[in-house]
Amino acid sequence: MKVMRYVPPSLRERRRYLLFELMGEREIDKRALLKELGDSIHSLYGDVGASEIKLRLIRYHTRKEGEGVVGVLRCAHDRVEEVRASLACIHSITDARVSIRVIKTSGTIRGATRHGGNAASR
């Protein structure tokens, strides 16, 4: 049985949630994306860097035909730029060309997925 580790809110790791958009030639499998993203981070920052980035895929949602994918990634709060660079370095997944961009970052999942606000590229 998995034991819940309780950490008081003031001592919890600070995180950032990144809403991203993936545009690809074909439909991209969630696992394939995660693998490619892991490879990209390892290639750029190595094992130590990857451990500090603490990346997780939180949500993954395929949109209508031809409109790509949107999803939410989680990372350490001070490693957003590193994740951005790693995402930008992905040029193909399973031989389908892709490009990924971050739409929005937030401290909560709700903030990242909520419409409006600073939803522009900032």
Binding site: A85, A88, R101, A120, S121
Partner: protein
């Protein structure tokens, strides 16, 4: 928010993607405009959008050929870029004030570069030094490390002589375009600060399009 420009994009007929499609993606990603710089080829047909700048990227094998082509295109094309690489060509390109951009001076694979003398010419003549972010996207491992280190070297000289610098994607398809914030994140990989990268994507390209430094020759005021 600043207005961002990507001044090195390749479109039909050099590649199989239409300029309009590239622009659509670039605008969606937050760019104000793009410049089509096909190798030795100017897009002749009417471009419907005012956000697409007609440019050319001159590829030459000798200094003589370069000079001939610059003379040929100058005045006909709003944006003159030179395909960089070998040291001799880089030097010839920055010595010519008619040239707007020296594209990937480190070569597309990090083999060439500019020395301090060439960089000074670039600053004097207002030739923008291009940092090709696309090369970082499409390589891995040792090759990327080599490109990054030659970019770091260039950046040091660019800072010292205050030459204008720009960031470009060198895109061949819509999937090669990266959003401005992503390009800035990639630029930090070789040591560019966020402010510098933002300027290299917005103010400086805009100044190039307006030929700001060609008239006044005041690079210091940047």
């Amino acid at each position: 928010m600043p207005t961002f420009f990507d001044l090195n994009v390749h479109a039909y007929p050099e590649t199989d993607v239409q300029a309009e499609d590239l622009l659509r993606v670039a605008r969606r990603y937050g760019f104000a405009g793009i410049a089509i710089t096909n190798h030795d080829l100017v897009v002749h047909e009417e471009l419907k959008s005012p956000f697409i700048v007609r440019g050319v990227e001159i590829r030459a094998h000798s200094v003589l050929e370069l000079k001939r082509k610059v003379t040929h295109y100058w005045g006909k094309v709003p944006l003159l870029a030179v395909h960089g690489g070998p040291d001799k060509l880089n030097r010839a390109a920055v010595e010519d004030a008619r040239v707007d951009i020296l594209a990937h001076p480190c070569g597309e694979r990090g083999e060439g570069g500019l020395n301090h003398v060439s960089m000074r010419y670039a600053a004097e003549n207002g030739v923008a030094i291009d940092f090709n972010v696309g090369a970082l996207i499409h390589t891995r491992g040792g090759e990327r490390a080599r490109i990054l280190s030659s970019m770091q070297e260039q950046l040091k000289l660019v800072r010292k002589y205050k030459a204008p610098m720009i960031l470009t994607s060198n895109a061949y398809s819509i999937y090669d375009i990266r959003a401005p914030r992503e390009m800035i994140a990639l630029a930090t990989l070789f040591g560019m600060s966020k402010d510098e990268a933002t300027r290299a994507l917005s103010e400086i390209p805009r100044g190039l399009l307006e030929k700001r430094w060609k008239r006044e020759r005041e690079v210091e005021r940047l």
